[in-house]
Symmetry: C2
Subunit: 510 residues, 2 copies
């Protein structure tokens, strides 16, 4: 049997483009002789549409688009594609939908699986929109008995229901799992573990691309009857690949964790910009390691011609900071601007007087906020995107200025600890673009007063703070700054637990 | 039967204070001869704890606090109180809890109801933490057969399960519903409708107080066998009231919608400040209607001595704006400061030059952001809270500057349309404090360029935008500014659909 694994990059709500991508993939695979093409979970509506699903006109448009896709694929080989279908009314104030896999065949779209296990943890809130669906029997395709699973259905280990086992018990000799599992460190190892547990040959097709916080890594794969990997598709890239189910075992490609971060984050930045029609990114370049990494990622994601780095030296800025920023901008080939802060800073001091001399915090924050204002002026003049350069450790500690260095619509490093940022910086330096030594070697500093260095032992505190976040704790150290993080931009998720919609912690609590 | 309705004000996670309030209420009601005291849903942990429930040490502390409460109430009459209890493991990555009502009696806490209907719409995400519990039979207290419901269990009309009917069918002659239903316009009418549908005498006990976005309005009530209202407790205030179940029918107190907004929002501001240990509030006073209403609410909520209004006139500011702001501050008795923007504005123009002359948006936003910087300097110097003064119509239209007038941790008016703000302003003017005529009568203006007035016909566009929000639509008009609203502070919810955690709309979508 020749299976086509079509890991395409969909966009939430872009029904005509999503349908076109499905059709292109099916058509290309058909030409190559595929018996069955497999496409991602929720490929027609895009994933995750979240509360757009409460808009009934959207649900109807998805039904029409699915029908349209089926009709346009009438002469092509059968394909399994993710969409949504209405369920009988069961709950009030609920869209009452099934997360559905349909088989496109002979011009029609027939449901062949409803998602049965609905995740409600971390960034998943599926019980808000979907109902767990009833089981389907396996379907016959090209002489095989194919059982279809949707994403969480394969992660059934600790659930009371085991959809894969049920399918195998009712005769499936091949499982096909369509998924939209977001990337986080170690996710592919977990996927392979859960796929192997099913005890049956399995093809796993994962979405690729990014939507807001979530980055989908692709890496669709096939396991044979012995649980051996016989195919793995590209990571973080669209691809349509024809896989012979009887191919010999292959090796799992080895990828450094820093390379994984690099490819995940460039995809996250690139898709956020492209899918929101934002061509150009702006960011502040301080000469520190966080902005150095962010700008390198942005240049790779958007092309250097679409990135402007702005250095805003102030009275306590080491001249080497601005020089390093300039050097990095030159290396990357991006536009570079220098704006001196002193005049605005002096005028602010003249206006606010005692307010600033009485309070170190007020005086320091003024500089961060004036910088935001300068950066946003570039964005407002030309259109585009302000990238935030905060890292997860700073955000956890609250060591950052709200409406200052916490500004920015997209935060590429907001889910990387400070040591992970250094590791990524060194990887970029070795593999992609030379990062000035000063950025890598200076002691971390906000340069908001003379000789300031960050008051943290990062190698010690970063893992401690990360552990609090991973364990869903909210000790006092985290609690003090919940109100600031409430107003953060979109943080690209690369860990098991990121700040953002997957972490719903109240501000008000004792 | 004498029933005590104890609508207390709990705080998420403040277990010792929550237990103390329960105990005080039970004790006070005992002295007055109550046969049964009823306390709110989740009174021990506070509501809503959200993802704190993934922290097992918190769940254990709630169990210990509930036990402690039972022991300390050993000599007092029986009480029904909301807490949480562990369920058998059913789902992975889930706390596996029941939202539980326990009966405190003879030093022990026995579960007498598990919440059976778990809402997953709007601000409710209960399937994330709770499992629907099995049914309990009615309990015998003071000669009555009491069936216990928890909140959504009474809103069962369109669910497949009907907990109240089941209890009545198994012999209940009185239903007791403990709730934590957030305030929104018209909620009390809806509650009475659902209570009447149960076809049985019912006592409904609702939480009072605010936690982040949610304001709980109390207004606990009793309906007799004919569905007639025989008691209603105070709105937006703690109270412990002894109710004779055989009392004669009473009238539903009439309250103007503006008065409801006023009391809801002062409670929301007051509790956010008190529960977060923030004594003082700062806000910008522009002479416009939004800041006039916000400051009047703040002065009422926190006391005038804990509010500072700051006027920041700039080159396009009408002198009457600042004069009106000063006049209102004097009327309210709050501190008032004037900071002239011109020097900072000029220095910014000198620094940014062409950036601002080339772009009207960039030039206008600079003023809003410089104002934010000034306001935040007050907050950073003295500690406290920046109040945002945006209204829902502006937020819907995106007619506001991110990191400028969208700044502020708490947004009291962010769920009121522009016409609702005017209505509230007129109500305050008539009932609480004179609002200068200029604030009420001037055409709405951001005063960011000469003779600027807001380019909207608010009486027409405000209800149109509101309708889009209520219908969970995201037409282009709303879509363009999703990225700004993603970074808004805490908006006090007073409508059926507020911007905030109850509206999970992606930024990236087509």
């Amino acid at each position: 049997m020749k299976l086509a694994l079509a890991q395409i990059n969909t966009t939430v709500g872009d029904l005509s483009d999503n349908v076109a991508r499905c059709l292109d993939a099916i058509s290309a695979a058909g030409i190559q002789g595929a018996d069955l093409i497999v496409l991602p979970e929720m490929a027609v509506p895009g994933y995750p549409p979240r509360d757009i699903l409460f808009d009934n006109s959207f649900v109807q448009a998805v039904a029409a688009a699915t029908q349209d896709l089926a009709q346009r694929a009438v002469d092509l080989p059968p394909a399994i594609v993710g969409t949504l279908t209405p369920a009988d009314h069961q709950l009030p104030n609920h869209p009452n939908l099934y997360n559905t896999a349909v088989l496109l065949q002979a011009g029609e779209a027939h449901p062949v699986a409803y998602k049965r296990l609905l995740p409600t943890y971390d960034v998943f809130y599926e019980a808000r929109w979907f109902l767990p669906g009833p089981a389907f029997p396996p379907i016959k395709i090209a002489g095989r008995s194919v059982g279809v699973l949707i994403c969480e259905d394969m992660w059934d280990e600790d659930y009371p229901v085991h959809p894969g086992t049920e399918l195998v018990n009712t005769g499936a000799d091949l499982l096909v799992c369509i998924a939209a599992t977001p990337y986080r460190k170690g996710v592919q190892t977990e996927r392979l573990y859960h796929a192997r547990r099913q005890g049956c040959p399995i093809a796993h097709l994962n979405l690729v691309g990014a939507n807001d916080e979530l980055i989908f890594d692709g890496r669709s794969f096939v396991l044979d009857a012995e649980g051996q990997l016989t195919h793995q598709s590209a990571a973080f890239k669209e691809s349509v690949e024809i896989v012979d189910l009887d191919a010999p075992p292959t090796e799992l490609p080895c990828i450094a964790p820093e390379a994984e971060h690099y490819h995940a984050l460039t995809l996250g930045i690139g898709d956020f910009a492209a899918k929101n029609n934002l061509k150009h990114a702006f960011l502040g370049l301080s000469g520190g390691v966080d902005s150095a990494v962010t700008v390198a990622l942005a240049a790779a994601a958007l092309g250097p011609e679409n990135v402007t780095g702005i250095a805003i030296p102030a009275r306590y800025t080491d001249p080497r900071s601005t020089e390093s920023a300039r050097q990095l901008a030159t290396t990357l080939g991006i536009a570079f601007e220098v704006v001196e802060l002193e005049n605005m800073h002096t005028a602010t001091e003249a206006t606010l007087g005692d307010l600033l001399t009485e309070s170190g915090t007020a005086a320091e924050n003024v500089q961060a906020r004036l910088r935001m204002l300068i950066l946003m002026s570039y964005v407002n003049r030309s259109g585009g995107l302000l990238l935030n350069t905060s890292n997860k450790t700073e955000l956890a500690l609250g060591y950052s200025t709200i409406y200052g260095d916490m500004a920015g619509t997209l935060s590429p490093l907001g889910d990387l600890t400070k040591p992970e940022v250094y590791a990524l910086a060194n990887w970029i330096d070795a593999n992609q673009a030379a990062i000035p030594a000063f950025c890598l070697e200076r002691p971390p500093s906000a340069e908001l007063r003379p000789d300031q260095v960050d008051p943290f032992d990062y190698p010690k505190i970063a893992p401690e703070m990360e552990q609090l976040v991973l364990e869903n704790r909210s000790d006092a150290a985290l609690r003090r700054s919940e109100h600031k993080r409430w107003q953060m931009g979109v943080i690209l998720k690369v860990s098991r637990k990121a700040f953002g919609t997957g972490r719903m912690i109240p501000i008000t609590r004792k």
